[in-house]
């Protein structure tokens, strides 16, 4: 039973355009959500997070939106760059609990 879902295994976007990665969760006890980026042969790297008391968090080209009623969050990357090509993992947790990861979405930014 997957508590964190990323229904798009892959996504291709043209350089300079917006990339939108989606994530859905089922556990209403989650109150903290994160996005990690992973390059081949490396560990996941923290990108951006959002607490359940917020609906938007922005950091440079990266913005995460949270819709608690729909149990949905999304990561927007604007503008997309070729170096953004990686696997993006959505993760969720409650205080004191472990991080639960989604299956990942492979983003390819085409020059």
């Amino acid at each position: 039973d997957q508590q964190v879902k990323q229904n798009s295994p892959s996504l291709s976007v043209q350089e300079g355009r917006i990339s939108i990665l989606n994530c859905d969760y089922t556990n209403s006890m989650f109150d903290y959500f994160l996005w990690y980026k992973k390059y081949p042969a490396e560990g996941p790297t923290f990108l951006i997070s959002i607490s359940s008391i917020k609906d938007k968090n922005e950091d440079g080209r990266f913005t995460v939106f949270l819709n608690k009623s729909a149990k949905h969050l999304s990561l927007h990357i604007v503008p997309s760059q070729p170096g953004d090509s990686a696997v993006y993992f959505c993760a969720a947790k409650g205080y004191g609990q472990n991080f639960v990861f989604g299956p990942g979405t492979r983003l390819s930014v085409l020059p």
Binding site: Q2, D31, Y32, L34, Y36, A41, E42, G43, P44, T45, F46, S49, S51, F89, K93, G94, Y95, G96, Q97, N98, F99, V100, F101, G102, P103, G104
Partner: protein, 115 residues
């Protein structure tokens, strides 16, 4: 400041042998997690330490896996005896939560291949 380090980066062992993976978390981080990624799929939780205590070990696949965290510092994950299905990339992560949730920082992973 050093990040999370894992050793070895790669390990190839035969079925039935024993392997021990090591993780050094970021200094001062009480929370230490072990995760595994098999066949390039999702990152699955194995175990969570808070200092030297096992907070949650519900993700450990079976009793062939043994994790320890000596003195609340580094951690080891031993697989004995290893089976073919244990192959994958084992990640360690650490975090420090003081009243608020924070992100976890991951090591580069140990790629385990059981042949």
């Amino acid at each position: 400041e050093a990040g999370v380090t894992q050793f070895p980066s790669h390990s190839v062992i035969e079925k039935g042998q024993t392997v021990t993976l090591r993780c050094d978390p970021i200094s001062g981080h009480d929370n230490l997690y072990w995760y595994r990624r098999v066949m390039g799929k999702e990152i699955k939780f194995l175990l969570h330490f808070v200092k030297e205590s096992k907070q949650d070990e519900s993700g450990m696949p079976n009793n062939r896996f043994l994790a320890e965290r000596t003195g609340g510092t580094y951690s080891t994950l031993k697989v004995q005896p290893a089976e073919l299905e244990d192959s994958g990339v084992y990640f360690c992560a650490s975090s420090q939560e003081v009243r608020v949730v924070t992100e976890a920082f991951f090591g580069q992973g140990t790629r385990l291949t059981v042949v």
